[in-house]
């Protein structure tokens, strides 16, 4: 009994210490620091392509990164299919039937050789796109999570990180199909993850309203960011890897700086009252594109925290968004079963 009380006191003291340490370095606010910067002019993007083919809600999409496939992307729908698209021609490069149609996430390997997906089956299935005879087959089924797979991201052709409704994230060895590292600490379902540009860290957003920064090789949680008042559904790195952007059911997005270890600004508007489902920064980081439950994507000036544009074009919730690796275009996926390419 005594030990529990002491530990509780110690925990509270440490939390106060962290709050104090963050205040000590708060010599200004982002708002003040960018007071002299002009707001970005109105951003008007047009739909350049509409990718038609899915027969049900689209839950996730991810752009390819390799120079060979920087215009390819993969999408996952609860029609039970993963489709790899050539966004320039709108042709379907591959249409992969899934064992489980309850898919919630998909990912494209940086090499372009594989895609992965998972969902209510609690597994992450890896597909080899470059198999012999051109057939796309399941390569591995990574099973160990005791909750749904909410997100997955490849580190390479041999490693992938997953986040789950079981409150953990896992680093897998694809070759052997085994868990290399379990990242535990969140107190609620992990909803989203993003890997740092240097592949050394990853961040996770969860239903405990916090975002955590993890060191992949040290297998430890380095930092925890609070402030949101509801589930964090979407998370991403600022392009230089020094800051993290989160999107939440509390209708706001937040920017947290990793080295100052604190929130720099909140992207909110009294007119926005619905949850953020997805987000992606533009190439320079100046624009933040965020998808919301009200079927729109709002474009924010990330430094000035003001809305500078809207992408209206879907007839249902925007569930996923991504900016291509060369920054040329943004792709939105929706419950209306379509993906749209904008620039």
């Amino acid at each position: 009994m005594g030990e529990m009380e002491e530990l509780r006191k110690e925990a509270d003291n440490l939390k106060d210490q962290i709050t104090e340490a963050r205040k000590v370095v708060q010599d200004t606010t982002l708002q003040e620091a960018v007071a002299g910067t002009t707001l970005v002019g109105r951003v008007q993007l047009k739909t350049r392509k509409t990718l038609r083919g899915h027969l049900a809600k689209i839950y996730a999409m991810h752009w390819g990164t390799d120079t060979n496939c920087s215009k390819l992307c993969v999408s996952a729908s609860q029609d039970g299919k993963l489709i790899v698209w050539d966004t320039l021609t709108t042709n379907k490069v591959s249409a992969i039937p899934l064992k489980s149609s309850w898919v919630m996430t998909c990912a494209y390997a940086p090499s372009g050789n594989m895609v992965a997906c998972g969902g209510l089956d609690n597994m992450c299935s890896i597909y080899n796109l470059k198999g012999k005879d051109g057939n796309v087959k399941v390569m591995r089924e990574l099973a160990a999570h005791t909750g749904y797979l909410s997100c997955c991201r490849f580190l390479s052709d041999s490693e992938i990180i997953t986040s789950s409704g079981d409150c953990t994230c896992v680093l897998w060895d694809i070759e052997t199909g085994t868990e290399k590292t379990i990242f535990a600490g969140h107190l609620g379902d992990c909803m989203s993850l993003a890997v740092s540009p240097d592949f050394k860290m990853f961040i996770s957003g969860a239903c405990d309203f916090t975002a955590k920064l993890w060191d992949i090789r040290e297998a430890s949680c380095r930092q925890t960011f609070s402030g949101h008042e509801s589930d964090i559904n979407a998370i991403g790195f600022f392009p230089n890897g020094n800051a993290v952007i989160t999107g939440s059911d509390d209708a706001t997005c937040k920017l947290y700086d990793l080295r100052a270890d604190q929130e720099l600004i909140t992207y909110q508007d009294s007119g926005i009252m619905c949850g953020v489902t997805s987000l992606a920064p533009s190439l320079s980081g100046r624009l933040l594109l965020a998808g919301y439950d009200d079927f729109n994507v709002n474009i924010w000036d990330m430094l000035k925290a003001e809305r500078v544009g809207v992408l209206a074009g879907h007839d249902n919730r925007v569930s996923c968004i991504g900016v291509s690796s060369d920054g040329m275009a943004c792709c939105t996926g929706s419950w209306d079963s379509f993906l749209k390419i904008w620039n």
Binding site: V34, F238, R259, M328
Partner: protein, 68 residues
């Protein structure tokens, strides 16, 4: 026993908080300046920010068919 696992969890939480408390932090002014600098340095290449001339937009249908 539940009480033992509660204590174990609490111990883990305290260790994690010690780790997070020991972080070396930079000033917000420096963090903000560097974010701003990154944005400015890369603005010109950011197609969604500065736009893409119609002729060089790979996603736009070509306006005319040149035979030369």
């Amino acid at each position: 026993m539940t009480s033992n696992s509660n204590v174990a969890n609490m111990r883990r939480l305290v260790e994690q908080l010690k780790l997070e408390a020991s972080l070396e932090r930079i000033k917000v002014s420096q963090a903000a300046a560097e974010l701003q600098q990154y944005c400015h340095q890369n603005a010109a290449k950011d197609a969604l920010l500065v736009g893409v001339p119609a002729g060089s937009n790979p996603f736009r249908e070509p306006r005319s068919c040149n035979l030369f």
